[in-house]
């Protein structure tokens, strides 16, 4: 049962992931990516990461993808991007993927037997808000605070870079 669910979600994620980089129109790419993120949220639930699945839907499929769709609509790219813009580097792309594949195979083979194929029994709070919050606000409190600083810097930076006057003054 769990394997069937995983197979369905994985197939959806792979197909929509491929569609993301294959569509001509960036808007269609964005919507394919949203489907992929939804499927991944489902896979997170099968891994008992309930809090992360909710965050995936709220932050990724919600906030980040709305930003993408907003920018695409603002620039009206759906009309201009008619022709598929592909570079002359597919060979390089395939080589890069093969390099990652080799590294992946090496990792999986060398880690074989280190972890059991049957997941260990975990307490009921595993992956829920109390379970994750205990680590997030305990052991990882400093990184957590630094992330909020990072987001503040990113927001200020985004406003500065996207401002019209910034580029005029540079000239």
């Amino acid at each position: 049962m769990e394997q069937i669910l995983f197979a369905i979600l994985a197939a959806v994620a792979l197909v929509s992931g491929l569609a993301t980089i294959a569509w001509r129109s960036p808007l269609r790419s964005a919507f394919s990516l949203i489907i992929c993120l939804f499927a991944l949220a489902g896979i997170f639930v099968t891994l008992l990461a309930h809090f992360l699945a909710a965050m995936q839907l709220l932050v990724y499929a919600g906030a980040i993808m709305v930003l993408f769709v907003f920018v695409i609509m603002l620039l009206d790219l759906s009309e201009r991007g008619r022709e598929l813009q592909v570079s002359m580097l597919p060979v390089l792309g395939v080589l890069a993927v093969l390099a990652v594949a080799g590294k992946f195979a090496k990792t999986v083979i060398s880690s074989h037997g280190l972890l059991a194929d049957v997941p260990p029994a975990v307490p009921d709070t595993f992956g829920t808000i109390p379970g994750v919050a205990e680590l997030l606000l305990g052991q990882f409190l400093l990184p957590f605070e630094l992330v909020s600083l990072l987001l503040l810097v990113a927001v200020v930076g985004a406003v500065v870079v996207a401002r019209r006057r910034f580029w005029r003054e540079g000239k």
Partner: protein, 101 residues
């Protein structure tokens, strides 16, 4: 009948590879950013899968940090996209090749 760890790792690797391929072969800046999001999601899946099979929630906390990082990256990246589009009137990275605007 639980799903073995290697299946999750395989899916994570496949998503990462699709994102890498898209990043290299596509020339549209927005699509390249989306391919990067795909790569981040692939690595996130590996983190969460290892977290489950080790019975340790720290992996989920790391995935949470990656998500916050992706939000910051998308905000800065899309601001740059807006600025580049305004300046060059195109998002084809092959045509954005002048350092001195």
């Amino acid at each position: 009948m639980t799903t073995p760890l290697s299946w999750y790792l395989l899916l994570s690797f496949a998503l990462f590879s699709i994102g890498l391929l898209g990043l290299v072969i596509r020339r549209n800046l927005v699509v390249m950013l989306m391919a990067m999001e795909l790569m981040l999601n692939g690595s996130n899946l590996a983190l969460v899968a290892y977290s489950r099979f080790r019975g340790d929630e720290a992996g989920q906390v790391m995935a949470f940090f990656v998500m916050a990082l992706a939000a910051a990256e998308a905000a800065i990246g899309l601001a740059l996209v807006l600025a580049i589009y305004r300046h060059f009137k195109t998002l084809d990275v092959d045509r954005v090749n002048r350092l001195n605007g």
